[in-house]
């Protein structure tokens, strides 16, 4: 009975309940050595060269994939235009719906495979891909499938029309979920799409291309072009696209807004954030701690709506920080495929360098840095969960989006001060507020200039719940009836 520890050992009070490794099997996933573009329903070689995608937890090369050249993008847009003119814009909404329902079902059927693939390519923990990303991906397709034949009831007039060909560029932090947020409403409204996944996480988008084939989606309705920034720029600038949808950094969002100036392209942008998470002295402390952890360590903090600025009422700062540190000691950092991992790998070396640089700036500017004792794997891209106290509003770590597991803690004395500090940023994507007083929640959430306010919770998402920012966090909403507007000619 070798697995059972010796009784003497078990008798020791200090015996630790060490969780043995519990890795999710990789066998469920088959990664090809190389991948082509998906254009007009077929996998076709790219003419712009190739790139490699690596497993950020091990730096192992996973696969090669094509870089779509301007000519490839042109072919993809032409395929989408053809499919729009000949098929998709003529197909009744009820029939479009059935394709989307099919896709949703196939995603559910293959959800474990996709979850593992996402964890391998992105570095995020399997617990999140399995319990958050994939269920939301399937739900998003289900939600918008049902809209396809009900658009006349959505509040955009009796017969709202699609826009045409949508150019969609998505980030690496939620590769498949962002794909779902883009493709599901576009198709439901009757548009066809050309989507470019991020160059560090192309694999689930390419798996989605196979799902389109399995669903027998008409060729050209969905086209996937892989590549880096140049491919994305070519796609957005293409004269035959009617709609541009982008999720990513505010910097790139700005350049897109400039690029489409003077055209008739409809644009929606979901960009960066520097969300404040406000904790009042009457907050439900244990749940607030969980909320803080979810707000900044979910997906290694690589979340545009991360609660990266903790605003805590000064009277409970010490108590709250003690509790937060104690909680952070229990975070399990490591192998993304281990079912017990809470914090996985940073997506890329470049992102790791950026986080490292900003954290160093925090220290240099005089903020106090703390991380739990934590052994990080020797290969791969890792950053230990970190919290900065004594942060002032002028510090870079209080103003710039770090996009990593780094929390900046600031204090406040009155509700007015909390709101003023929370709104003191060019961003406005999300915010959090923790208090047991109902009227205060309503007042504060009214005053916060942010598209999503989580009160006594954080980082919750749902296909029926509109998501999107104020100010430099972008414009347009994704999710629910509001999300249809981005893909209708209204």
């Amino acid at each position: 009975m070798s697995q059972v520890p010796e009784r003497t050992q078990a008798n020791e009070r200090t015996a630790l309940f060490e969780y043995a490794p519990a890795p999710e099997s990789r066998a469920i996933v088959k990664i090809e050595p190389s991948y082509d573009l998906f254009i007009g329903g077929e996998f076709v070689p790219a003419t712009g060269g190739s790139l490699k995608t690596v497993n950020p937890a091990s730096e192992e090369v996973l696969a090669e994939f094509g870089v779509a050249s301007a000519a490839d993008v042109d072919r993809a847009v032409a395929a989408a235009r053809h499919a729009y003119d000949r098929i998709w814009s003529r197909l009744p909404g009820s029939e479009r719906a059935k394709y989307l329902f099919r896709i949703a079902r196939i995603i559910q059927e293959r959800s474990r495979e996709l979850a593992v693939l996402e964890s391998i390519d992105n570095g995020k923990p399997i617990r999140e891909t399995r319990d958050v990303d994939l269920p939301l991906v399937a739900a998003h397709f289900f939600h918008y499938a049902g809209w396809a034949d009900k658009l006349s009831h959505a509040g955009y007039g009796p017969d709202p029309r699609p826009l045409g060909v949508a150019a969609q560029v998505i980030p690496w932090n939620f590769p498949l979920l962002m794909l779902a947020w883009k493709i599901a409403p576009a198709l439901a409204c009757g548009n066809t799409v050309v989507l470019k996944p991020a160059e560090t996480t192309p694999l689930t988008a390419l798996a989605f291309a196979q799902i389109c084939v399995q669903a027998e989606l008409p060729p050209g309705v969905v086209n996937i072009v892989t590549g880096a920034g140049e491919t994305g720029a070519a796609l957005i600038a293409h004269p035959d696209v009617n709609k541009v949808a982008f999720t990513g950094s505010t910097e790139v969002g700005r350049s897109i807004a400039r690029a489409v100036a003077g055209t008739r392209k409809k644009v929606t942008l979901e960009l960066g954030g520097k969300a404040a998470n406000i904790v009042f002295d009457d907050a439900p402390i244990d749940q607030a701690i969980e909320g803080i952890v979810d707000s900044i360590f979910f997906n290694q903090g690589q979340v545009c709506c991360a609660g990266s600025r903790l605003l805590v009422q000064e009277s409970i700062e010490e108590e709250l920080m003690d509790a937060l540190r104690r909680r952070m000691e229990t975070l399990r950092v490591g192998d993304p495929l281990d079912k017990n991992t809470d914090v996985g790998a940073i997506n890329s070396a470049a992102q790791l360098a950026k986080i490292t640089e900003l954290a160093a700036a925090g220290e240099a500017e005089g903020a106090e840095r703390w991380s739990p004792a934590c052994e990080l794997p020797s290969t791969g891209y890792w950053f230990v969960p970190t919290v900065f106290t004594n942060v002032s509003a002028t510090h870079r770590i209080a103003r710039e989006e770090i996009f990593g597991p780094v929390l900046s803690v600031l204090t406040f004395r009155t509700p007015e001060e909390a709101v003023a500090k929370a709104n003191n940023t060019p961003y406005g994507l999300s915010a959090g507020v923790w208090t047991e007083k109902g009227s205060r929640i309503l007042a504060i959430s009214k005053q916060l200039r942010a598209g999503v306010v989580w009160a006594n919770t954080f980082n919750k998402f749902d296909p029926s719940s509109p998501f999107g920012g104020y100010r430099e966090s972008g414009y347009g909403r994704e999710g629910g009836a509001h999300g249809l507007e981005a893909y209708l000619d209204v």
Binding site: A139, G155, G157, T250, G253, R254, S255, A257, R258, A261, G262, R264, L269, L271, P426, G428, I441, S445, A450, G451, V452, V453, W454, A455, N456, T457, K460, D462, S464, S465, P466, F467, G468, Y470, R471, E472, S473, G474, Y475, R477, G480, A481, H482, E485, V490
Partner: protein
Amino acid sequence: MSEKTGKAAAKNGPLKETRAVAEAPDEVVKQMTDDAAAAETWSRVRVAVRKTYKLYIGGAFPRSESGRSYQVTSADGEFLANAALASRKDARDAVKAARSAFGGWSGATAYNRGQVLYRIAEMLEGRREQFAGEVAAVEGVTQDSALAQVDAAIDRWVWYAGWADKLSQVRGTVNPVAGPYWNVSSPEPTGVVAVFAPLRPSLFGLVSVLAPVIVSGNAAVVVAPDAAALPAITLAEVLATSDLPGGVVNLLTGRVAELGKPLAEHLDVDALDLAGVEDPSLATELERAGAQNLKRLRRPVPNPDWTTDPGLDRITSFLEIKTVWHPVGV
């Protein structure tokens, strides 16, 4: 109206008539041309008080800080008035005033905003003739046509006034999320909106772009170009006397080419309505400038028909949807 004044109106437009001679009885005007009786007549004449057209910023009517003005002429080139030629700094002051007013206006109850807007319509109705005169003068249209435009403007204002307390019900949602959470989305005003009003129709166009911006709680900085300045400033006089808090609407008169860039680049402006920017390359330039802080944007539409049902489009262009989550549990 005498033949003489009718002729004057035809020549100079009713505006000039209004300001210079309308106060004088017909027989006095007749006598004014009679040399023999001139001396006697002049002793009895009343010279009309002219109106000065200034800017409208923060509830006050300042001249341009630059001290500049420009001649507004009628459609056939006659002098009508000197309007203040707003500068970059006036634009800056207007944005500042708008930002200060935003909190109070957006925080007012929707019912209150609706009441204030309806009050504005009442005041417009009271000055119906005056607006018609100005519109006819600057656009060179007939009095009937001008009156029709004024009526349309008043009716549109009333239509928008009624939207104040209905928007949230039409554009807000309660979202059936899959979990124990209360989830509500509601529209909120974007903030400070820079509006480029169309040159024509001068009053109806201005009302059609301004009312949808402020009804939801936004504050506006409006550029009324060239000759559209005159009815615009008269509208400002209405706004100033109708319970609308100062700074909610700020009116700059002058040139789009000069005021466009500072407003499009201003980082405390949240949105642009380029309706009145007729030059496509300038519109593109302003759109590009607005990208710096991701301003919400309405592009100009070539040859717009202002008379069609406006729908909610212009209101929703300057709204943000805020979604609030809260757990549901005992």
